[in-house]
């Protein structure tokens, strides 16, 4: 697994910085994304949010080469956990789905997330992005 840097935030959460190889929705494209995965929440609870198929897409290449997202909202799962220590009574964590829907790993990663991470509910949101027009580039 990749080595990582812990980034403590002002509210006490601890994150791992990662680089993710992500399949785009069209033309079999792929893109590197800078992401963070939550390691401990603000109440010092350990929050393991990485499943084996998710970890399989982490890369250790030079992060300076990662391009900006340019409006891309990657496919993601919203995991909701009850948390009585929060004012909202819950903690919501996003996990990206790097596999495009036409690959079997797409369903496997979601199944794995349901089975291994113990969230109360998990919503799915597909990829969203703006389209750049060829006529505007020229």
């Amino acid at each position: 697994m990749a080595s990582y840097t812990l980034i403590p935030t002002t509210v006490g959460k601890v994150w791992d910085s990662r680089i993710l190889l992500y399949d785009l929705d069209n033309n079999n494209g792929q893109q590197l994304l800078k992401i963070r995965t939550l390691k401990r929440d603000g109440n010092d609870n350990t929050m393991p949010t990485v499943t084996p198929l998710y970890a399989a897409r982490f890369v250790t290449d030079n992060p300076m080469k990662v391009p900006p997202r340019a409006g891309l909202n990657p496919r993601s799962l919203s995991l909701c956990y009850p948390n009585p220590n929060n004012a909202t009574g819950r903690t919501v964590i996003n996990v990206y789905v790097p596999y495009s829907p036409d690959k079997p790993e797409w369903k496997e990663q979601i199944r794995e997330t349901f089975n291994l991470l113990g969230a109360t509910s998990i919503d799915y949101r597909g990829e969203s992005k703006p389209i750049t027009y060829t006529s505007q580039i020229n």
Partner: protein
């Protein structure tokens, strides 16, 4: 609002048959949610990508059609600075039809911009789908 039906393929590869979709125009002013208004079949023929037009069939009144148990993939095609057309994208990402749709949008000259929005599936139905095929 022009209404059509076609088969819809979800991100989970399942085909949902004979699903009804509305194509409509939304006018937006600053600080409001926008106002929906009708489009005609001719408006849609002038605006929508050809592959989408060839996939959609106008509905026949008094016939039954299906609705989806989640929010479907859609595109917002901005035709002016304050209005866009809302239309469905019934193909699975990375399929030939989906890629053709994106390429046709990219090469369109009459539109200002387009936003693609993915599916949104709530937890109970997502769990049902991934655990049952």
């Amino acid at each position: 609002m022009a209404s059509y039906y076609c088969d819809y393929i979800g991100d989970d590869s399942r085909t949902y048959q004979r699903v009804r979709f509305d194509v409509y125009l939304v006018s937006v002013t600053v600080g409001t949610r926008g106002t929906r208004s009708s489009t005609s079949l001719q408006d849609d023929a002038d605006t929508l990508p050809p592959i989408l037009l060839s996939t959609l069939t106008p509905i026949v009144p008094k016939q039954a059609y299906c609705t989806l148990p989640f929010t479907y993939r859609n595109a917002l095609i901005w035709t002016s600075r304050n209005s866009y057309i809302h239309c469905p994208i019934p193909w699975q990402p990375n399929s030939l039809e989906f890629n053709t749709f994106i390429n046709e949008i990219k090469s369109a000259n009459s539109n200002l911009s387009t936003g693609i929005n993915g599916e949104f599936i709530e937890s109970s139905y997502l769990e049902f789908r991934v655990k049952n095929g």
